[in-house]
């Protein structure tokens, strides 16, 4: 493979379809040996959470995700790469984020997906607010030091 693949990036309120996104990268192709998908979903935190509200910075989200996607496409021999990040109200059991990586080689697909999730956590301009089931006030999720630490692996 000579040129990096062109990443497919979407920032949207709507849900996504993992099978359709796998098909987009691998369907009809005979050179794809490995496809990794990562789906991040909303958890109810032991029954405590009614919903997440995801705020984002529209003008920046797309460009930042594209930037990190292009870095992944340069660093690993990917045949395809898709990133979808949702915003708005998301309830437990619903999807938040999808990364799909396709490659001739297993390790490249795994590593690129893992790298991308680390970078999305700490670099993409999204903020989660938790709405509890009970009458407690909503509160913003705090960033974890471990997420920033995770970037040092790359």
């Amino acid at each position: 493979m000579t040129l990096p693949c062109v990443p497919h990036v979407r920032v949207q309120a709507e849900d996504f379809d993992v099978a359709a996104e796998i098909e987009r990268l691998a369907g009809g192709r005979r050179d794809v040996g490995a496809v990794v998908t990562f789906t991040g979903r909303c958890r109810d935190e032991g029954g405590r959470l009614a919903a997440l509200e995801i705020e984002h910075y529209p003008a920046m989200a797309d460009s930042q995700i594209n930037r990190v996607a292009q870095e992944a496409a340069r660093r690993w021999p990917l045949t395809g790469l898709t990133i979808i990040h949702r915003f708005g109200r998301i309830e437990p059991g619903q999807n938040i984020v999808l990364v799909v990586t396709a490659s001739s080689h297993r390790k490249a697909a795994f590593e690129a997906a893992d790298f991308l999730m680390d970078y999305l956590k700490s670099r993409a301009p999204f903020w989660k607010k938790e709405h509890p089931v009970q009458g407690e006030p909503a509160r913003w999720v705090e960033a974890k030091g471990e997420d920033e630490e995770a970037l040092k692996r790359w």
């Binding site: 991040g40 705020e55 999305l120």
Partner: protein, 83 residues
């Protein structure tokens, strides 16, 4: 200069966007955060700990040492929690 705010920075300041005219001695991002905080009230509450505020200039992450542009969109927000 156009300022935009997100998440709890936006909530505490009480607005999403505003246009400000900066004094000549506000040269860096750190200067801007100090100047805003000194406005007091909601600004003092939002920028109580300026070190944790993340900043982007024209949609690119920058450090607090970064010089401000003559014009552009400066975004202030908490550490991101996407993914």
């Amino acid at each position: 200069m156009k300022l935009v705010y997100f998440a709890w920075v936006r909530e505490r300041i009480g607005k999403e966007v505003e246009t400000v005219t900066l004094p000549a001695d506000v040269g860096t991002v750190a200067d801007l955060l100090k100047w805003l905080k000194e406005r007091g009230g909601n600004y003092a509450a939002a920028l109580e700990h300026p070190d944790i505020i993340r900043v982007a200039i024209d949609h690119e992450h920058v450090t607090h040492e970064t010089p401000l542009p003559r014009d552009g969109e400066i975004a202030l927000f908490p550490p991101m929690t996407g993914g």
